[in-house]
Subunit: 501 residues, 2 copies
């Protein structure tokens, strides 16, 4: 089969090139593009999307995959080549179900929606955004109908977490909610205030930028393989395993926002940069499980980034950048501040514990939209009501509510649950890491993240798309996804900070 598999590899490499090119266009749109480029960029992205879709769904690719079936069956199931053919077939069959025009229309609406969202968020005007959001929901429902799924949300979730069903996600998030609601209540009732005023004040963007570049250079990202830029809604994207684009934002009144966004996105970048180079330009080279992706970003942001040992090394760097604001603030105060638990409006700025309630709220609203129980126009009211129930707060305006996230503006329904399920996985991995690296606190206290990265590369990163979360966890802890380790971690943190829980 050498020539057939070679032919397949060439086609798959081109599909990867198109996908990476599209990623660069999207990265540029959010970081570099002059505003005037917007309409043309939407078309350019839609065209790349459409061409890629046609190539992926093509009869020729189908025939190659069919021809390779006996070869695939002759290979060990866990070999790279078997995984390559298996995953290419999955992508092909999925693409066959969706008309190219619908794919292009979804991409175009996503790009338009994102522009509209930026403006609507700035003026806190949901009405302005409504038609774009309605269009996204409508298109995603048409997309869902292309599959014969048990639940209309299943195909959407599958785009972000291949193979996971709505029922599984619901179950995990219900368990999380049941564990977290009492924990939040305990903190609120305890009244043990934590003073986090040191994180709010005067933090000029230029100095934050210098600081975050300095911190990023100390992370275990090889020089010459990444860059860090500013954007409205931080994200990470990989143009190659050696071309990682990290973004963050600088809020001059809030130090923590940009700092933890950097750690979060750097966690994604370490994952993409850790994929076995032999998988580059194959569909195995771009991790597609967002549960695994978020387990990596959330682990760096939280288990590492809110750890006392980590700040033992890095806090003096932060202090040097802002001597006026932080010169008189000791490490213990800073560390308690970044671990403060308090219901708040914005998900990306939320503490570790309440964060999951933000996610669960979004997941539940998405389900209702998709099931047709909730009209898009009723979304702000539904958001605000549920927010009151879960977080006990009155949402002041839609910019602090339903308009805060980019996801829905670009039609990303099914993405949110992966954040909290990723949190759960990060809890399982963290217990395994703690056991495997007994000196980790010591290393973090010296700013050495190398051993941690090596563990993650060996057990998670290098596999790229070859292993699902279940596959990774099976090898590491011999169990499926479970929420208990993560809940134990949160309870311990709350106990440590508040003496309750």
């Amino acid at each position: 089969m050498p020539s057939v598999i070679e032919d397949l590899r060439i086609r798959l490499a081109e599909l990867e090139d198109l996908e990476r090119a599209r990623s660069l266009l999207a990265w540029d749109e959010r970081t570099m593009m002059p505003q005037g480029g917007g309409p043309a960029r939407s078309e350019q992205i839609a065209t790349l999307e459409r061409i890629r879709h046609e190539m992926l769904a093509s009869d020729e690719l189908g025939r190659l995959l069919e021809e390779l079936r006996p070869h695939e069956e002759s290979l060990p199931a866990d070999s790279d080549e078997a995984a390559l053919i298996r995953i290419a077939r999955r992508d092909h069959e999925k693409a066959r179900r969706v008309p190219a025009d619908l794919k292009a229309e979804i991409a175009r609406a996503a790009s338009r929606g994102e522009h509209a969202w930026l403006e609507a968020r700035a003026s806190a005007d949901f009405e302005e955004f409504l038609p774009y959001l309605e269009r996204n929901v409508e298109l995603k429902l048409r997309y869902s109908e292309c599959f014969e799924a048990e639940h209309p949300y299943d195909p959407l979730l599958d785009d972000y977490e291949p193979g996971m069903t709505t029922a599984e996600a619901s179950q995990l998030l219900e368990e999380l909610k049941a564990g977290i609601m009492p924990l939040v209540a305990a903190v609120v009732e305890s009244g043990n205030g934590v003073d986090d005023s040191c994180l709010y004040g005067d933090f000029p963007a230029e100095r934050q930028e210098r600081l975050l570049h300095e911190l990023a250079r100390e992370l275990p990202l090889p020089p010459g393989t990444w860059r860090l830029d500013a954007t409205a809604h931080p994200f990470q994207t990989a143009i190659a395993t050696t071309d990682l684009r990290i973004t963050t934002r600088y809020d001059e009144r809030n130090l923590a926002g940009g700092l933890f966004a950097l750690l979060h996105e750097a966690g994604h970048a370490l994952y993409e940069g850790g994929v076995d180079p032999a998988l580059e330009r194959t569909p195995l080279g771009s991790p597609d499980s967002l549960v695994l992706h978020e387990s990596q970003s959330r682990l760096l942001e939280n288990q590492v980034g809110r750890n006392a040992a980590f700040w033992w090394h890095f806090y003096p760097v932060v202090q040097r950048a802002f001597p006026e604001a932080l010169g008189g603030v000791d490490l213990r105060t800073f560390h308690r501040a970044v671990n403060k638990v308090r219901p708040s409006f914005i998900r990306v700025g939320a503490d570790e514990v309440t964060y999951n309630l933000h996610v669960i709220l979004r997941f539940e609203l998405e389900l209702e939209l998709v099931e047709g129980v909730l009209a898009v126009s009723d979304l702000p009211e539904a958001w605000n009501e549920r927010f009151r129930g879960y977080l006990g707060l009155e949402v002041p305006d839609d910019a602090n509510g339903v308009l805060q996230d980019v996801h829905w503006s670009e039609g990303s329904f099914g993405y949110f649950p992966t954040y909290s399920i990723g949190n759960a996985v990060s809890g399982q991995l963290w217990e395994a890491i703690r056991a495997a690296l007994p000196d980790l606190d010591d290393e973090l206290a010296h700013g050495e993240l190398g051993p941690l990265r090596e563990w993650l590369r060996e057990h998670v990163h290098r596999f790229g798309r070859k292993l699902s979360p279940a596959g990774v966890l099976e090898r590491v802890v011999g169990e499926p996804i479970r929420v208990d380790p993560y809940l134990r971690y949160l309870r311990e943190k709350v106990k440590e900070t508040y003496g309750v829980g």
Copy 2:
């Protein structure tokens, strides 16, 4: 024919999207990309190139164009739609002649060659670069063979100046050379030194960057449609008519380099930004005559940018940026300095007059390479010898000689002659502009470039690819390309500065 022409338009729009996407990948590679992204980027660009080529050369497109022949013949020849079909057919027929694999190989070799060139130039090591350059020449000869041309250089030139033959270009450049050699000799013999020491000294990159952004904002480029970045070899690229990417470079010991590179690239950007928006996403929307393109960049750089009236307004801005270096230098001294004529090594830093000898030298060497008269390995020696003959200087090393330009590293043979022929056209246009805008000096002296831009938009820019240089000149001056007006302009300038010529 409504549905056939609509089908054609959709396909052509996609081809444009692919081309603009490729431009963005190339822009990013030279301005933003972490070094590690290089190998993957070469593949990504080659893939976009290959897909575009296949679509352009496809039987389906050929059939559409065939079907549209009667419709085309029924339209006025100068209508947008007739031009669209005619130019699409030209592109299609040209693409049919070149195998997709060869196109992709050329693109890949171009990207690899550029990386190799950057390193070779840094170490002034031609040997390191030789295999890449040999590969580029070999591939371009194979490319040329795909056409049945009178001269092997014709198809290469045609890529940069559609329809122009090697014989025509040779004739024009011979005439230029005959006019310029005595002019340079007169200046050198006159011994009338011009003091340009004010342009050399200590010009920190950060302050140059601030200054050039300030100047760029005063040029008639609409806000929100452009950006300016630093790169090794300045260039301009348009991702849309409203998304223009200008680049320059900052040499801390030389103020003029970055300043005139900005004006040059801004001239290109004004052209691309001035194309009729109705032509966007059609093959008419991207100007492809580099003679016209260079006529625009060279006009802004020279006829405008070395004009006393222009500096009447802008010099105080430059002085404010560098008070230590320029506070005591008056306008007349500065203006004479930027008009100094002196043989020098680097083309992009050359004065207006000797510049053309740099170009003619490259054109002649390209011809010899393509004709097989000169081996690539003998290029440095041939360069140095001819340089001595034309410019009277001994080239000290290859970084100041054969390695200075990016063009050959990316396989761009046939590009260079368009610079000087563009100069000739800028001379014709400038005479017409002078006659049409009697108050131009006054306007420039107030920093008002709007009327100039409007003239250029009306007579050159808006047509995009619809008109060739001959078509533009026919409308404006009723003549074909001629070198006399440009030579008159140069003689006048030399007379003004040196009192000779």
